[in-house]
């Protein structure tokens, strides 16, 4: 899922400094699952913002709402009407939701409440880690299912660098060296031939360096 993190409150307060009527709009998609932008987080944020504004002597009227998703057009439909009642809509969706509102509801002043971070998995309650870089050219079949693009600090293609010690990455002892793990896994599966082959230079276009990406599935097109 997409992992995001709420922006610091002062940054959000700064963002809404001129706003008198605000809608804090959550999303029940990824950000709800990673406890960043669901109903609960909407409540907390709205409350915190009111408190902050009260303290500053500039009370604000904040309404709270959470949509099923902010990245599908049908769920955004009500916002086209409701949005008119607010000076700004503070979206607690990932960056996709903010963009999509901006695209679909051009008259609405949409603001981001979150910093969208990565594609991650929930390691345990309250802990998420990056597992995929969305590079558009998956090599996991060559690396025992462990992604060196997302999980190696240097996105190496051809084995661990000289900084790999005791299974840890050189940049942080708490970070596992993914190449160490790949080596162990492939060796254990008698797939070490994969470690001897030179992986050629990547084509980074599918990862976004070729410009914004778009996917089309013809059979579903209207």
């Amino acid at each position: 899922m997409i992992i995001a993190e709420q922006k610091p409150l002062d940054e959000i307060l700064e963002m809404i400094s001129g706003v008198e009527r605000l809608l804090v709009l959550g999303c029940r998609g990824c950000v709800a699952v990673c406890s960043t932008g669901g109903d609960k987080e909407v409540g907390v944020l709205a409350s915190a913002l009111r408190l902050g504004r009260n303290k500053a002597g500039k009370p604000i009227k904040i309404d709270e709402e959470t949509y099923v998703r902010q990245c599908d057009p049908e769920y955004l439909e009500p916002l086209k009407q409701d949005g008119e009642n607010y000076d700004a809509v503070l979206s607690m969706a990932c960056g996709v939701g903010v963009n999509f509102i901006a695209d679909r509801c051009p008259d609405i002043n949409v603001l981001p409440a979150l910093d969208t971070s990565f594609y991650g998995a929930n390691l345990s309650s309250g802990e998420w880690a990056e597992m995929c870089a969305g590079c558009g050219a998956c090599v996991l079949h060559l690396t025992g299912g462990l992604c060196p693009v997302a999980r190696c600090a240097k996105s190496l293609s051809n084995g661990p660098c000289g900084g790999s010690v005791g299974g840890s990455c050189e940049i942080n002892k708490d970070l596992p060296c993914i190449w160490h793990q790949i080596c162990e896994k492939l060796t254990g599966r008698n797939q070490d031939q994969l470690l001897r082959e030179i992986v050629p230079i990547r084509d980074w276009r599918p990862s976004g360096h070729g410009g914004p990406r778009r996917r089309i599935r013809e059979d579903l097109l209207p």
Partner: protein, 998 residues
């Protein structure tokens, strides 16, 4: 060889190799890199130049590598994937290759987190192995990473990579080395080794994989500087295995630094024993001083001499060194050549003396012979008379007359006929003796012979025995006679033609003669000679072909046919002039004719042709062949060309001209007249005798003419020290030329620049302003735009600009190059080609380009500026060289190099004074030429002319003007004849001074 780098050569030679490491500074300090390189030079075979190691911003490895290279230290450029993508990396590699870098170490690079910019975006477009593959493909397949072809000059780099035997997983490390080798690494440098035992195990696997045979492995070592450093490395540097033993050794050491070096040396000795280790990589970052000691203690000194370490770019110091060495070499060579030339001259002088003696004795011998021959001839004449008388008597006695020839033809033998023959024979031999003795030439001899024979035959005819002649022979005789005459005439003509070098016509004449009289010996000989002459002439003509080609060669690119033809005409005229100069009338005729063929109305060519036809040939000053004894050429006594009257008239006319109105902001540039001293010195001297205050001079300064026509100037001619009019004559007043730059002046102070600000971008308008507004008598056009260190305007472009200036004004022009000998030659030649008709003055000619520019000046008969650096002997030497080249001293102006007042003017003054005294009192004729003083530029670049007006130094403009005027007056007093100046007011002051003094 892959790249032929020193590192590659040492490694392939099998020697135990040593590489070092040089960390560029975190600033732009050139000296730091240079000094480090100097410490390492000679102690290592190559030096790694790190690429922002530990992700700290430092001077680029390429740049620092080039500095090292310039110091003669071969760099191994390090390249990481952290900071550049494939575009940047390949671009840098091309640059590195272009500038002579031959080794590349391919690294992934430390993560930016460790450096001083942890917020940076790491690029990591590829990893080290992919980098190796990419560079190898660039080198071996001549392909960029994208697959495009590198059409030429692919980067040829000796590739290396790093390996860390102490990183995990241990078993994978040799495999990764294998990948690097497969990708293209030729050598591997390892992480710092302290744990030799683990490294040995690593090497064991490496050998098992056979890698030691495919790649050179250099073991990385570092001397630990202190216990603290060792502990730090152990604790904080990932993948660095510092053993406890090392830490203990350092802890116990009295001098940890020394112990650190010992530890390093011990490790080197240990790893050297491990099979497959090809060398060591000594990393003593920020402790480069330790490297020589380590290398020496490890028994690895001396290193083989660095081969093929050739920097493409050099530091200014290195350049200075090379230049000074080259200068030294050139000086030595010149001295040697001078010595040789002196010796040769002495030898030829000796030869001449000998030849003279020989010739004298030969002449006296010939005289004697001639007298003897005369006496013999006298005897012979009496003999002839006697014989003639006898013959007549005999013929009369015999009663019938017969022609001698007739008798001979009939083959009748008689006493008389044999006598006749002997008479003729003796007649001929007598004549031959006469010819030898008296130096009678063939024609005269022929005439004499014919006279005698005619006389003889006439006498025969007078004998009344005509009827005795056989009737059949009768008509034959006059015919034979006529034929004979004809033959004789033809032979004589042939000989004359041969003399005139017209072998072809001579051949014709001789052939005709032989057609009439096939047996004629003279004609036969002549024919042979003519043929020989022709054979010699033809190849000579062929050889001369390219110099005087028949037609115009194909027009080169960038020139219109008209321009090219114009150039060619000028060249031909020049060639003609040279021929005339050499006395080669035919050559001159040919050149001028060709020029006229190309351009019917070319005045120069016409004039030249007339000269050549009239045989008006400039005397040859330089002996063409060394054997010919050197004739003492007495320079023609200079006659003043300009009549003083006209000079005065001109001066008057100038005075009448309205004083130009000053441009904005100028008060007035006109100057009050300096009152003249009306009382002569002798009057003022009163009772003092004239001989007590006058000096007599034996030398006279030559006159040099600038340009032709109405506005022509002549300088020089003085027969006394400057302005000593009571002692001698100064027929021509010193002159001032205005300096005009051919590009906008960059650093002129405003107080000067404002006079030309409206014209400074257009040299033509500028020059016109000088002549029209300020009354300039001459213009010195400075071709500063051509300076290769400055604008570096192409010669052709600058020449066109100069042409427009020269053609835009009618006063004489001095062309002053940028001072770069080579460029000036090119530019000035180009200008002379464009303005062949104008007698511009070329300068500066230095010892570096006097030959080429001197030849140009000679061809176009242009005056030149001989420029030397403030030295009497150098000035004289350059003049001698120019004269030897064929220039006349009447073409030379001396530039002794000028210093402004306060900036060495005393040296200029002293040198000029000594030159002038030598010229006037010691008859040093090579120094008897006028001075040109290019002073304006010297004055206006001084500090004093640039400081603004203030209470102490006063008004800036007044200060500058006075600096320039006082400099000029000083130089005038030193003997300067032609001043090149800038500020109109300073010029006005100087001219007022000159007028007042004359």
């Amino acid at each position: 060889m892959i790249s032929g780098s020193n590192l590659e050569q040492v490694l392939t030679s099998g020697q135990f190799t040593v590489t070092g490491e040089l960390g560029p500074p975190q600033n732009g300090n050139f000296d730091v890199v240079r000094d480090k390189a100097r410490i390492l030079r000679g102690h290592v075979d190559a030096v790694n130049i790190t690429d922002c190691q530990t992700a700290i911003v430092r001077m680029a490895s390429l740049t620092a590598g080039l500095i090292a290279l310039a110091e003669g230290v071969e760099p191994v450029m390090q390249m990481t994937c952290r900071d550049r993508n494939r575009i940047g990396i390949q671009s840098d590699i091309l640059g590195a290759s272009a500038l002579g870098i031959k080794n590349l170490l391919c690294l992934t690079g430390d993560h930016q987190k460790f450096g001083n910019h942890p917020h940076a975006k790491g690029v990591f477009d590829m990893d080290s192995i992919q980098l190796l593959g990419m560079v190898k493909a660039m080198r071996d397949d001549k392909k960029f990473q994208c697959g495009d072809e590198i059409k030429s000059h692919e980067p040829r780099l000796f590739l290396g990579a790093a390996a860390n035997p102490f990183a995990d997983p241990f078993e994978y490390r040799p495999i990764r080395v294998a990948k690097k080798v497969e990708a293209g690494a030729s050598f591997i440098q390892t992480q710092i080794i302290y744990n030799v035992e683990k490294f040995a195990r690593f090497m064991e696997i490496v050998r098992d994989l056979g890698l030691h045979e495919k790649v050179y492995i250099l073991a990385g070592v570092t001397p630990p500087k202190s216990v603290g450093m060792a502990r730090y490395m152990k604790k904080f540097v990932p993948g660095l295995d510092v053993t406890d033993d090392v830490i203990e050794r350092l802890k116990g050491a009295k001098d940890p630094k020394e112990e650190g070096i010992n530890i390093c040396v011990d490790i080197i000795k240990q790893v050297r024993e491990i099979p497959g280790v090809a060398g060591v990589h000594v990393m003593a970052i920020e402790w480069e001083q330790a490297v020589p000691e380590i290398v020496s203690l490890a028994g690895l000194s001396p290193r083989p001499g660095a081969k093929s370490v050739e920097p493409r770019l050099r530091s200014s110091e290195a350049i200075e060194l090379i230049v000074s060495e080259a200068k030294e070499g050139a000086r030595a060579e010149t001295e040697k050549a001078l010595e040789q030339a002196k010796a040769e001259a002495q030898a030829s002088r000796d030869l001449v003396v000998k030849e003279k003696e020989k010739v004298t004795s030969e002449i006296s011998g010939l005289k004697r012979q001639a007298e003897e021959a005369k006496a013999i001839a006298g005897e012979k004449a009496t003999e002839i008379e006697r014989l003639t008388a006898e013959l007549a008597k005999a013929m009369a006695g015999q009663g019938h007359a017969q022609a001698v020839s007739g008798l001979a033809e009939k083959g009748e033998s008689s006493m008389l006929s044999s006598r006749e023959r002997s008479v003729l024979t003796s007649l001929r031999s007598g004549l031959e003796a006469l010819r030898k003795g008296l130096g009678i030439n063939e024609d005269q001899l022929e005439a004499l012979r014919r006279f005698f024979e005619a006389e003889f035959l006439l006498r025969m005819d007078t004998v009344p025995s005509k009827e005795a002649v056989a009737p059949g022979e009768k008509p034959a005789k006059p015919e034979a006679e006529a034929r004979h005459k004809e033959v004789v005439n033809l032979v004589a003509k042939g000989n004359v033609l041969l003399h005139k070098n017209d072998a072809a016509k001579a051949l014709d004449a001789f052939s005709k003669a032989l057609a009439i009289e096939p047996k004629d010996q003279k004609a036969g000989e002549g024919l042979k000679k003519a043929r020989e002459a022709l054979e010699i002439a033809v190849p000579a003509e062929e050889a001369a072909g390219p110099a005087v080609p028949e037609g115009v060669p194909p027009c080169p690119e960038g020139l219109s046919p008209e321009e090219w033809q114009q150039k060619w005409v000028i060249r031909l005229v020049a060639k003609g002039n040279v021929c005339l100069h050499k006395g080669d009338v035919d050559g001159a005729l040919k050149a001028f004719m060709q020029a006229l063929e190309l351009k019917l109305d070319d005045e120069k060519a016409k004039a030249g042709l007339l000269k050549a036809e009239s045989g008006e040939v400039t005397p040859v000053l330089v002996p063409v062949e060394p054997e010919v004894p050197e004739k003492e050429v007495i320079p023609p006594f200079p006659e003043p060309k300009a009549v003083p009257v006209t000079e005065e008239v001109k001066a008057e006319a100038k005075k009448e001209a309205p004083v130009p109105t000053a441009p904005t902001g100028i008060k007035d540039i006109s100057v009050a007249k300096l009152p003249k001293e009306t009382m002569s010195l002798s009057e003022r001297a009163g009772p003092v005798q004239k001989d007590q205050f006058t000096e007599s001079y034996t030398g006279i300064i030559r006159e040099v003419s600038l340009d032709e026509g109405e506005k022509a100037l002549t300088v020089g001619g003085a027969s006394t020290l400057p302005f000593h009019l009571f002692e001698g004559d100064m027929p021509h007043v010193p002159r001032v030329a205005y300096e005009v730059l051919d590009s906008e002046p960059e650093d002129w102070p405003d107080v000067l620049g404002k006079y030309y600000s409206d014209v400074s971008s257009d040299p033509v308008a500028w020059a016109r302003k000088c002549t029209d507004d300020y009354g300039a008598e001459a213009i010195c056009l400075s071709l500063i735009s051509t300076d290769p260190n400055g604008m570096n305007r192409p010669s052709s472009e600058a020449a066109k600009k100069a042409q427009s200036v020269i053609e835009g004004i009618d006063v004489p022009v001095i062309l002053w190059g940028c001072g770069n000998a080579e460029k000036d030659t090119e530019t000035l030649r180009e200008v002379t080609n464009l303005v062949g008709n104008r007698k511009v003055c070329l300068g500066p000619l230095s010892d570096a380009n006097y030959r080429s520019l001197g030849a140009t000046a000679m061809a176009f008969q242009l005056p030149v500026v001989a420029s030397t650096p403030i030295d009497v002997n150098l000035a004289k030497q350059l003049n001698i060289l120019l004269v030897n080249l064929g220039l006349s001293l009447d073409q030379i102006l001396m530039d002794p190099s000028i210093g402004a007042i306060g900036y060495g003017i005393e040296y200029s003054y002293s040198v000029m004074e000594r030159i002038r005294l030598a010229a006037l009192t010691q008859q040093d004729e090579k120094l008897q030429v006028p001075f040109i003083c290019n002073l304006g530029r010297e004055v206006w670049k001084t500090k004093e002319c640039r400081l603004p007006s203030d209470a102490i130094l006063g008004d800036q403009e007044r200060r500058g003007v006075l600096m320039e005027a006082v400099t000029a007056s000083t130089l005038l007093l030193a003997g300067g004849e032609l001043m090149v100046m800038m500020h109109p007011k300073a010029v006005a002051l100087t001219e007022a001074l000159i007028k007042g003094m004359m």
